[in-house]
Symmetry: C2
Subunit: 308 residues, 2 copies
């Protein structure tokens, strides 16, 4: 499957009705462990689910508070991520209730209680497969919400020329994107950053309102190299306090912000609309730069060196 | 007080024996709310204290799980931060146990249970005043640890020529720093980023091992503009798995990493040593760039526009 075909699987992914098979009685906190394209799933989830404390771990270890009342969710698309395997072992020792979302690998082989998702695509293209079981278990989206998400994704699959234009602008200026998000889609800004890194192979960074107004804003007036960056603000513009911040940050620093707004009816369609715009933006940029968006051979080489 | 004098107060700050006056029985989770130079205190704390779930909020709202068994800690140096005041009001409505660390302001005036810290310096220069009450309450550092931290800070106050050289290199190449950290000092890398932003007024970014190996690493081989960045790895080099990652990331991407190692005896002296090196680096860079490290007038202008 080429990368463009992978992107077109997302609209089906959000129709997944898979759930974690867990008894939540007595569970008072959740730890989600995952790295890269799998780890972001936990971060995005933690921003829209807040009825219990959710700690997202992207490292070898887990916090010492993990115990028998902790639900530990290992997310690894390949099932072979060394950090996630390490954290899973610690979670078992500490007596956590352990579940996994994976396409197989060692984690698929050793965790009984799991959601097995389809393999064969890039982990970062399987975000829907990995995220939906969390949403289905804890937030139970309706079929209307699911259908709205599919319709939103479908519309972006059909026409993403706005993202092609933006990619062309970044490409022609050899610009470094800074993606600025805000609640409840701060982590989608980080998702865009990582898609620029992996698909387009360029440096990119992310931050969010209102936190960035307390530090990162200072150099937006420009000490040096500011013009080499492209500032992109993404989100659903409905919070007037945040809109004021965006307006004044841009005007007081004379920094043009390129806005990418997605106005869904629900959180779900807005979320996946924002995600999918970033998928196409970074895909178009890869084509302009003549790099293969699926190529992550460096990460594979690194894993090989480390596994010796 | 000029900025250099502010930096020299840190060695006294770590001797603070202030504690939060709270009954921790029945508290099963902690929310720390703060922005910018105050918010980072919660992040740094959350990485070295992990016996209860700690959620750090840098926004207007707090998670819906907040309840009577939640300790809510508002940290605002000025005591007038609008986001922190908003989150504090929600915490009160939800019946959280509320405490504050502040030098005064509205938060100082309305929260009975608080640690009042000395005012009059930049919030980012008061990190020790704000962090020590958390450490004293939850981790109880010994006087040996405290003295080791003071000695570490004192040595850096005496000789920070290594940071002056590094500042000169960044200045002469007009480089954008990317600071890479690793556990348990990931958030110190973010602190350095914000110090570059506020003190030196330049763009800067941070990330951490092992997460960055799953995405950000890809462009380290260089698609464009890579040579305009300065990669700085900070931490206490003792974790061999992480050291392998650092070595192979650098070698497979042909990216020189400038290492800033601090080898304290304890977490406390290492932590403050790493923090203080970043303080001086960004201070020296400000001097070379001929910008005032204390000037954050833009952030003040923004607050004024928003408060109308």
């Amino acid at each position: 499957m080429n990368f463009s075909d992978e992107l077109k699987t997302l609209k089906k992914q959000v129709q997944s009705e898979e759930e974690l098979n867990v008894d939540l009685s007595g569970v008072d906190k959740i730890i989600i462990s995952g790295m890269g394209g799998s780890g972001i799933v936990g971060n995005i989830f933690s921003e829209i689910y807040d009825r219990k404390p959710v700690t997202v771990v992207s490292d070898y270890h887990i916090p010492s508070f993990a115990d028998g009342k902790t639900l530990f969710i290992a997310i690894s698309y390949s099932g072979n991520t060394e950090e996630t395997i390490s954290s899973l072992e610690i979670a078992r020792e500490k007596g956590c209730r352990v579940v996994a979302i994976t396409s197989g690998g060692k984690i698929g082989a050793t965790v009984d209680n799991k959601v097995l998702i389809p393999g064969g695509i890039q982990p970062r293209s399987a975000l829907g497969y990995m995220l939906m079981p969390l949403l289905n278990t804890f937030l139970k989206p309706s079929s209307q919400e699911r259908d709205a998400a599919t319709a939103m994704i479908d519309a972006i699959d059909e026409d993403n020329s706005d993202m092609e234009s933006l990619a062309r602008e970044i490409w022609s200026g050899k610009l470094i994107p800074i993606i600025l998000g805000f609640s409840p889609f701060k982590w989608v800004a980080y998702r865009w950053k990582t898609q620029f890194n992996e698909n387009s192979k360029i440096l990119a960074f992310s931050n969010y309102f209102p936190e960035l107004n307390h530090n990162e804003t200072m150099p937006y007036r420009g000490t040096y190299r500011k013009d080499e960056f492209k500032f992109i603000v993404i989100g659903h513009p409905e919070n007037m306090r945040i809109e004021e911040r965006i307006k004044w940050t841009s005007s007081l620093t004379s920094t043009p912000f390129h806005r990418v707004d997605v106005r869904g009816k629900y959180v779900l369609d807005t979320l996946f609309g924002l995600i999918h715009k970033g998928d196409y933006l970074t895909y178009h940029l890869a084509k302009l730069l003549n790099v293969d968006p699926t190529d992550v051979s460096l990460i594979e080489e690194l894993k090989k060196k480390l596994s010796r």
